[in-house]
Structure formats: C-alpha cells, structure tokens
C-alpha cells in the first residue's frame, strides 16, 4: 500500500483552511452517538479530551498516573513558541514555519509544519483565556524570550514551569468536562493493546493498575497521546513511567512506525553521577540565553573553574558558531559537547560534562535579575548536585530528551489503521530529524485543541461502523493475548531484575546508537539487543501477582516492548545512510563535522511495517517534497 499523507492541494498558506472546509461535519445532535477513546493526558491528550467533549462526543480518557494532571508534559520548562510577533522583531508564521523546517533538518512535511505555525497563535489566545499565568511586562502585556535555535523572541513562558502551567490548563479544561459528564476518566490504567475490527480501531484493552484486572473499552475511534520512547535508553529526562508500549502494540497491529532513529539528545542536562541513577534531569535550554558554555583549553587543566583565566577557556560554541553562539539547535550543541569531552576536555569527576557559566550574566544583569529568570532551575540544580550555580558554573552534559520519530500519521493525524489517531510526541509528524526548543508544547496543543477536533469528525462522518461491543470476539482475543503475556512474564522466575536488564539495554544504546553513530556500532547493537531480549525472556524475575498493584509487572511489560523496539530503532538508523539532525552517522559529515544529508537518496520518511515475530519489518517510504523552502545545508555559523 503506498503511503498517502492526504496533503490538501493548493498554495501552502491556504491548505489548512481549504481542508477545514472540505472535511465532513457531524451534526451536533449526532456527535453524542460517537464514542472516542483518548489514551494519555499530556498536552495532546488532555487538550483533545476537553475539546472533543466540548464538541459533544462521548469521550473516555485513560492515563497511567493517579491523576490526569501528572503526565510528563508537566516537566517541560522553557516555553511555547508562537508567531505572534509581539516583540516586533520580524517574526511571522512564515518565519516560524521556515525555522522549524530548517531546524528539523528538512525531514518533516512542509504542509504539517506550516499548519503548526499557523495554529501557534490561537493556542496562545486560548491559553490566556484559560488563565495560564504567562510572564508579563510591566504594562501587563505578554513577555517573550528567545529560545534555542531562534533569532527572534517568540517564546511565551511561565517562569521555568511552562509545561506545568499549560498542562494544568488542559487538565482544568478536562476537569470541567469530567464534571459535566462529557468525559469519563480512567486513571491508573495502562493500555496493553489496541482492538481492530474490520480494519478499524474500535477499542483498547487496559490493565487497571490498582487491582490488576484487564478491562475492555470500545469506541468509534482511538486517539493515542502516549508520548515518546526516550526511556528505551533507561536514563533520559522522561518520567519513569514513560514508555513505548501503547505505540508499539499498535505497530504490531498494523500502524507504521516512522523514523524511530530520530532521537533528540538534549545538550543541557545534569550529568550522570552513579550506576544507581534512575533518571536524568534537564536544565532548560533557556539557560543558554544567558549562560556561556566552555571547557578548559588544556585537557590537563584540572583547576577549579573560577581559577581558570578567560584566555585559557574554550568557549567552543561561540567560537565555532559566531552568529548563533550558545543558542545553536540542540543536536549541534550536544554533538559539540560530546566532541569536547571525547578530546579529554570534559570537566567534573567523570570528565563527562562541560561548564555552563552565568558569571558574566550575573555581572551584567545582577544576581537578582538572573534569579528571577531562572531561580527555580538554579534551585533544582543545587538540590541535585549540592553545588551553588550562582557561585560556580553548572556542569552539564547531553541526555536523551525527546523522540522525533513516532507512529506514522497522515495530514489528519490518522495512522495507517483507520480510526487510530496519534498526536503529540507519539506521532512522528512535525519535527523532522531534530526538534527546536519550545516546539513540543506548541505541537501537543495544536494537535489536541485545534487539529483533532476537526479531523476526527471528518473520519467519523465518512466511515461505516459495524456494531461492536466489548463482547466482540476481537476484544476477547486481544484480552487473552494480553493476559497470556502477563502470565508469561510472571512465570519466568529468573535471576535478573527488570531494571538490571533495562540498564544493560541502556548501555548498548548509549554506546552504539546515540548522538554519533557508525554502521559497525549499529550492527553490534543489533546483535546485542537480540541476545539481551532472549536473556530477558529466560532470566528475568517479576515478583508478585498479576491480580494486584504490581509495579514490577508494569515495568516488565514496558521493558519487554523496549527490547523489541530498540532493534527497530537501530534498524532504521542503519537504513538511513546519511546524517541529518539528531541522526548523525560518522560516515556522513562535512569537513566541519556537521551532519551531511543525502537529499538525493534519503529525503523521505521511513515508515516501518511489522511483518511478524522475529521477521524483518518492511520499510515504506513517503517522499518529502519541498516546494516552499529550499533544501540547503543547515548553517548556524
């Protein structure tokens, strides 16, 4: 089946409006006859649930945490982009579109990205109406700041807690719909599988995490907002429960998985400090607006940072990229930090860190001004490291942060399974091979507030539905499969814990499939992953029972999927014989060590189709056509 992205015709600026008109509508009285399942309550899932319910659909929403307010969107710090041009500094929808296409290293769809830039503005309007306490100037107008990889100030923010505030906004809208009886909320549920009937997504099987019961839920459409797969690396900035299971299960049911090798390694994270470490903490890259990144020029210089004179410091980003300086996109900043550490110039006990120094900013703006901008981040840093960043530079190192890859979706955000929509980080759509700062919040809310409410209606209006209840054979079969998988996990009774195996997977991926890759390493990784997967199914131990609150069993199911998914990621990295954005294959680089794309052969989306257990998946290619932005070598010099 050829991949059809269903991109509307006509000039790019009019595509979405035209599509909105062409989408079929459902009469308000009929909307209540349709059940829609939303899985996940982050920015995408929360906003979609609230908006679909507001339109009159009957919505059932599921989340893995104890409350929909806790989804990991809450941890996003820096801000949300919009093309408002309030600062009058030359921004526009076109510029946001252009920056996002270029930032993604020309591996995203023009039409989707243009729509995202258009919708960025009503998102801010809506969020303000909801009462999001965005930062303001003295006159009461909204404040903006510049943010990673942009030369204009288009980022709206609520201190260093923008994600929290936007998520709580979506959560409050969702709460209102729950109170009105328009959304039925199911917290502490984990989606174990998708139910497909006649080629349509018609429901899900979930596990009630409190009592272990499997539950069946039927609907006319399923909207997956289950986030990214960064935790395949074990250590990432993701929350502990973030996982690929829901997405990967639908992949096995026929949804294609696109560009899994596009993972984002974020440059400014608190460095790893021990084998017991459970997660990595991001320091918002807004810090790069005022912090200067440096290492000692001499690898043998082990003096404390403040004793190293200016002339003996290497401000490598400012040197190499004079026009963007410390604000280069994430992939570029991360690779450069790694390069410095590989040369032995890393700092701190492990040598795997670079300095992010605020001394000049404090001298220029005063400590009070810096504290107002970044106070909570500085405090967070001090809590973790026990060091005071007002007095000493922060030590930072890249960490896995975001995954641009995800389930393939068309312009309507529908996957290759009819009626299965995928939004937010869980889909692949808008960020190409590298996401720019403050764009994830924008995309999650665009998908949930302003895209899915229309496109899901278009689908429902045009589809024929058989009568399907949770008693349907497909539900029984899916539930049985899920149950036998759980039983199998509990019966292995081996000698290694789930975390122990997950940590081994982490080392394989971090060593061989991270921000700098080679074909040999990727081949090695593939073998090691296969061996580890076999080891898992023979030697893992999962205590407790399936009929209980059992966090070990939850983790085991997720790691089992990560072990399969990791191979898909490596396979995709091997198939993409070029470098672009977050995917850097050392064989393809410019003389200045920048990613070198091969537009002739790889200007496409790689969408993988599951072909059966232990079989090589098929790759489908969706060509990317650039009619509005000229394909060029990214340069931030």
């Amino acid at each position: 089946m050829p991949l059809d992205a269903k991109i509307p015709g006509g000039p790019i600026a009019g595509k979405w409006d035209r599509h909105l008109f062409e989408l079929k509508l459902i009469n308000p009285a009929n909307k209540r006859k349709y059940d829609i399942i939303v899985v996940g309550t982050g920015l995408a899932g929360g906003s979609a649930s609230a908006t679909l319910a507001q339109l009159g659909y009957k919505v059932k929403t599921f989340c893995i945490q104890d409350s929909p307010r806790r989804a990991h969107s809450i941890a996003a710090q820096g801000g949300i982009n919009a093309a408002k041009n309030y600062p009058n500094d030359g921004d526009s929808i076109w510029r946001l579109f252009y920056d996002t296409i270029k930032g993604g290293d020309f591996r995203s769809r023009e039409a989707n990205v243009y729509r995202l830039a258009q919708i960025s503005n009503p998102i801010i309007d809506h969020c303000v109406a909801q009462g999001i306490p965005f930062a303001r100037d003295y006159g009461g107008l909204l404040a903006n700041r510049s943010f990673g990889g942009a030369q204009v100030s288009r980022t709206f923010y609520a201190r260093g807690q923008t994600g929290q505030q936007l998520l709580l906004g979506a959560y409050s809208a969702l709460s209102r719909q729950i109170a009105d009886g328009n959304v039925q909320m199911f917290p502490r549920r984990e989606m174990l599988d998708l139910v497909v009937v006649n080629g349509q997504a018609r429901g899900i099987v979930v596990r009630n995490l409190i009592n272990g019961q499997l539950e069946r839920h039927a609907a006319h459409a399923v909207v997956l907002c289950t986030g990214g797969y960064g935790n395949v690396f074990f250590l990432s900035t993701n929350a502990m429960a973030s996982n690929v299971t829901a997405a990967f299960r639908t992949y096995k049911k026929g949804a294609y998985f696109a560009n899994p090798c596009f993972t984002q390694i974020h440059p400014t994270c608190v460095p790893v400090h021990g084998a017991y470490q459970s997660k990595l903490t991001l320091m918002s890259e807004s810090l790069r607006n005022d912090g200067r990144v440096w290492v000692p020029k001499d690898p043998d210089d082990k003096r404390p940072s403040r004793q190293i004179p200016e002339s003996e410091r290497d401000y490598f980003l400012e040197e190499k990229y004079p026009s963007f300086g410390n604000l280069v996109p994430r992939d570029v900043a991360s690779r450069n930090a790694k390069e410095q550490c590989d040369m032995g110039k890393g700092v701190g006990e492990t040598g795997l860190a670079v300095y992010l120094d605020f001394a000049d900013a404090i001298k220029r703006d005063t400590r009070a001004v810096i504290a107002k901008k970044y106070g909570n981040l500085f405090q967070m840093y001090e809590k973790i490291t026990g060091e005071d960043p007002y007095e000493r530079p922060m030590r930072i190192y890249p960490a896995v942060h975001y995954t641009m890859g995800g389930l393939w979706v068309d312009y309507n955000l529908m996957s290759t399974i009819d009626g299965l929509f995928v939004m937010g980080e869980a889909n692949f759509s808008d960020h190409g091979a590298n996401r720019l700062g403050a764009s994830a919040l924008m995309q999650g809310l665009a998908d949930g507030y302003f895209i899915i409410p229309y496109t899901v209606g278009g689908y429902l209006a045009g589809a024929q539905f058989a009568d399907v209840t949770p008693d349907h054979a497909a539900f029984k079969e899916t539930e049985n499969d899920a149950q036998s998988r759980l039983d199998k996990l509990l019966a292995i009774n081996g000698k290694r814990t789930v975390d122990d195996i997950h940590k081994e997977l982490s080392l394989i991926l971090w060593d061989y499939c991270n921000m700098s890759r080679t074909n040999e390493d990727l081949e090695k990784a593939r073998n090691l992953i296969q061996q580890l997967r076999a080891e898992f199914w023979e030697n893992v131990t999962v205590p407790g029972s399936g009929k209980d609150f059992n966090q070990s069993l939850e983790k085991a199911g997720r790691v089992a999927d990560f072990l399969e998914f990791a191979e898909l990621m490596v396979l995709d990295a091997l198939a993409r014989q070029e470098s672009c954005g977050g995917h850097f294959n050392e064989a393809y680089q410019t003389e200045a060590h920048e990613a070198k794309r091969d537009d002739e052969n790889f200007c496409y989306v790689a969408a993988w189709e599951f072909a059966g257990k232990e079989k090589e998946p098929h790759v489908h290619k969706e060509p990317l056509v650039f009619e509005n932005v000229e394909l060029s070598q990214r340069s931030y010099k």
Partner: protein
Amino acid sequence: MTKTINLTLKIWRQSGPDSKGRLETYRATDISTDMSFLEMLDVINEKLTLEGTDPIAFDHDCREGICGMCGAVVNGRAHGPEKGTTLCQLHMRHFSDGDTVVIEPWRAKAFAIIKDLVVDRSALDIIIQAGGFISANTGGAQDANAILVPQAAAEKAMDAAACIGCGACVAACPNAAAMLFTGAKISHLALLPQGRPEAAKRAIKMLKTMDKLGFGNCTNERECEAECPKEISIVNIARMNREFFKASFFSDEK
C-alpha cells in the same frame, strides 16, 4: 564529595486498603550520598526482588519535583526534612551514617491507602472538577494581548499556580485539611481578570466539595505551608476565605 552511609529504615507495609499495616525494618547499606531518596528505595527494592520478597510500592514519576506523584512522610515530615523539596528531590546527603529513617504514607481520611506508601488522592481531582477552571471553550478566545494582566498579579497567580497537587499539605495538617491546595487554585484564578466572572461560584463549589470529601478545616497550624514542596503561602488560604465570604454575602451563588 560523594560518600556512602548506612541506614536503618522502618517502612510502612500494607498489602491493601482493608488489610492491617505495620512498620518493617530494612537495612540500607552503602548508600551514596549523591542518591535521591527514591533511588535509595530503588536500591532496596532491587535487593528485595532478588530475595523473592515483594518490593515496596511507592508512587513516583517525573523524579524532578514537578509531577506531584511522589510523597511519603519521612521521620514525621511530609517529603522529608528539607524545605521546599519533593521526596524525589531529597538527596541522601541530608542524612547521616547510622540514622534510623521512618517512612510512612500520607495519612488522611480522604486518602485511602492502596498499597504500602501508595495512596488514593483522587479527592484532589474532584475538588478541581468542582470549579478549578475557567469555562473557556476552545476556539472562542480573543487576541492574547487584549487582556492586560498587571505583572504583580500575574506573578502572584503564578506563585499559587505552582502547586503540584502532591497532597503534602493534607498529610502535614493535623486536621488533614486541603485548604492550601484548594486555596492555591482559587487564588490563581481569582487573581487574574479571566478568572473573575466565575470567582464566586468557584469559591463556593470548591469549598463545599472539599468539605464533603472528608477533609478537615484550617486551624492556622501552618504545617501545610512549612511542608509544601513548592512553598505555597497560606496567604492563599486567607484569599480563599475572602473569596468565599464575598461570594456568600454578595453573590447569588449558593
């Protein structure tokens, strides 16, 4: 500098809401002082798992102090001894070699225990559902800069909106009141012009719901403020009370 310490842990174990709980003793050896408190529990759980014992159930997710999922009473203090710190951000450098550490779940009538340190905080969601929102439908908003919000008001609203809904205020309060939680949300919205149209209704409905769910009343103990990991001020309780009185006397809301 990193060093290691040994601790004696007394941890609340309870297999379900209706079963009897008890404190059990565990030894935590060679704990790096750079570990977070939850990483220390991870280490204990890995050991228990390999010994064939049921690991300790505890809620956690982001582990960076923002999701509000984690929390336990450590030596009698919600989220432990450090000010303005969630349990996941509490590091072992604040403990000394040889310490005995008692770890218990949040205790409140409105928070039933699910297992060990895991409690049911859905009552907090129900309070928000009663009115912790602005009824703004998607799609109808005017330009964002058409609403002017004085910077000071926006900052105060943000101070209140920073609440992470962890429930520490309830656990710390001798009356198991949810006044700080509820006051924070009412304040956040009442301080903004967008929140004013529904302010009266919101205050009355949220407070009534809070009472109905079995939370206690405020007797100005200030324990909530002392233990709040986001250091939310009890000024927000005073503001909530003002909003409630205003609404009761001067509005048609009941």
